[in-house]
Symmetry: C2
Subunit: 312 residues, 2 copies
């Protein structure tokens, strides 16, 4: 038996009739004006990070950042967090955990997130972190991945490929804090852009780029029952990539690289004039070709296979 | 440098001015009639469980049970949950995760807990689970560990030592589903007793027995600024223990054994007549000897050192 994470989650959803599973956050009623957003993300040593590639502070930052990115992807505001960490005894005896919390709190302060609980556990030999964040959004205003509409323009915040490029540099031995490495080690959740989009009220659907553009766009298309057409020339490649990698690798990292934690969102064409801002790039459009992601390169269009990150 | 989990948490609390950390659950405002309760518990393979001692179903049950017990300890009702699991690839390819969810859902159904999210991750070689549960309680009615009063009678639900006895039998090779092993592998969270106590409205303070009576009572005393005096003859020893262990070991497991997930609570003496029910046992009283736990045996009183479970 072999199956992907996604197949597994789909199976659990239908087997146990789960209606709140499947977007970046669960949406729970809080009171008559506000919904609660909840997300959990597990980071495992030697799968999601390596201790010789990062610092405890970066790791604490990233653990919170990935969950804040989920809140951003729903158009919400992060409010509180719980942090569960498992560490082996040899690390417990060092300043590792203190430094991890220092990195965590530096980011938490930036977005006024309060630590309200969690767990500290011993592990046999590896570090594991589960980051849980609770957020809020005006009732009914969470921006889903399942509500993209054919004809929508597809937009992206920031640039792509930086985190994947940083990972490749780390793999080949780089240990500086160059822009690409920082993008991998200390990603910035897009809460400010999310908040702006929420105020504009024009995003029909949204997701964060955690697995990679091709995979995450596919999640939007499958959840929304739509397709999409990307324009290769419009994809915003991270400015530092070409200095380190050949053009085809740069393009592959932009299309398939994970962990940039930028936001992908779709907007009715009548509203795109609101998005004439430097941090937003229009990269394609939503089509009615259900489940098909197409890529136009130099006027030729081909169907794209998803190649982003999957644990299984 | 060496420090306990508790010292670490105290340090983080004061360093970052955390006011919601330190009880079984965090209490967060939901709306004007209800507070939200949040808890997270991490279970790590070969620290908190062993795969050759348990079944995936028991493990799924226990992961949820430990968090439900935290909700019970606050007098709340469990409402929803997120489950983060990390598994190595070889287990992913078996029915392990399906069976774990089966065990989880069987308990969730019993208490109408809805799965709303979580995470699935790959690990290098060990299973790790983070169980997150959200509950509710009428505003201001959460039962804290910090509000025991000198003169209160100390009560306990059920019996103690069963889970510790089960662990010892597992360690010595037992693999049946005898009562003691079940108490260790498939603990029952005390939500029904908690609900009864909440309705009676008489518990001044409450905690669940996760680390062991001597440790958990110490948590109550330290948080409340009180002491306590236990009466050895009154401690409710699990009925199956004496058949397997000598008397001194039975007593040690009752006093210091963890993971029974019974509730310890304190009640003003004027209210104890309400508790004349078979599931409740009066085991001692709260004193004004701040931080001192005393044990009376055969009329002699000695000061007790905490010996319950600590990860570090």
């Amino acid at each position: 038996m072999s199956r992907s994470e996604l197949e597994f989650i789909q199976n659990i959803k239908s087997k146990f009739s789960l209606t709140k599973v499947g977007d970046d956050c669960a949406i729970l009623p809080k009171h008559d004006k506000t919904d609660l957003l909840m997300t959990a993300d597990m980071l495992v040593e030697n799968i999601d990070f390596r201790l010789d590639w990062t610092t405890p502070e970066f790791l604490g930052h990233k653990a919170l950042a990935v969950s804040l990115s989920d809140i951003a992807a729903m158009g919400g505001k992060a409010v509180w967090s719980m942090l569960s960490i498992g560490v082996p005894e040899n690390l417990w005896k060092t300043d590792f955990v203190d430094r991890l919390y220092d990195g965590w709190f530096a980011l938490a302060r930036e977005f006024s997130v309060e630590l309200v609980g969690g767990d500290v556990s011993r592990t046999p030999d590896k570090v594991v972190i589960d980051s849980i964040v609770g957020g809020e959004v005006d009732k009914g205003r969470a921006i889903l991945r399942s509500t993209a509409k054919p004809g929508d323009a597809i937009f992206l915040t920031g640039t792509l490929g930086g985190a994947a490029g940083g990972l490749k540099l780390l793999e080949s031995g780089a240990r500086n804090t160059d822009g690409l490495l920082l993008k991998q080690l200390q990603p910035e959740p897009q809460l400010i852009n999310s908040n702006l989009l929420q105020k504009l009220g024009i995003a029909n659907s949204m997701i964060d780029i955690s697995d990679g553009l091709s995979s995450d766009l596919r999640h939007v298309c499958e959840a929304s029952g739509v397709g999409s057409l990307l324009t290769a020339e419009r994809l915003p490649i991270h400015a530092d990539l070409p200095a380190h990698f050949p053009a085809d690798e740069c393009f592959d990292m932009t299309l398939n690289g994970g962990e940039d934690f930028e936001l992908l969102f779709t907007v009715s064409k009548k509203n795109i004039s609101h998005l004439d801002l430097p941090q937003f790039t229009r990269i394609g459009e939503v089509t009615s070709n259900v489940g098909i992601i197409e890529l136009s390169i130099d006027g030729y269009t081909r169907v794209l296979q998803p190649k982003g990150y999957q644990h299984f």
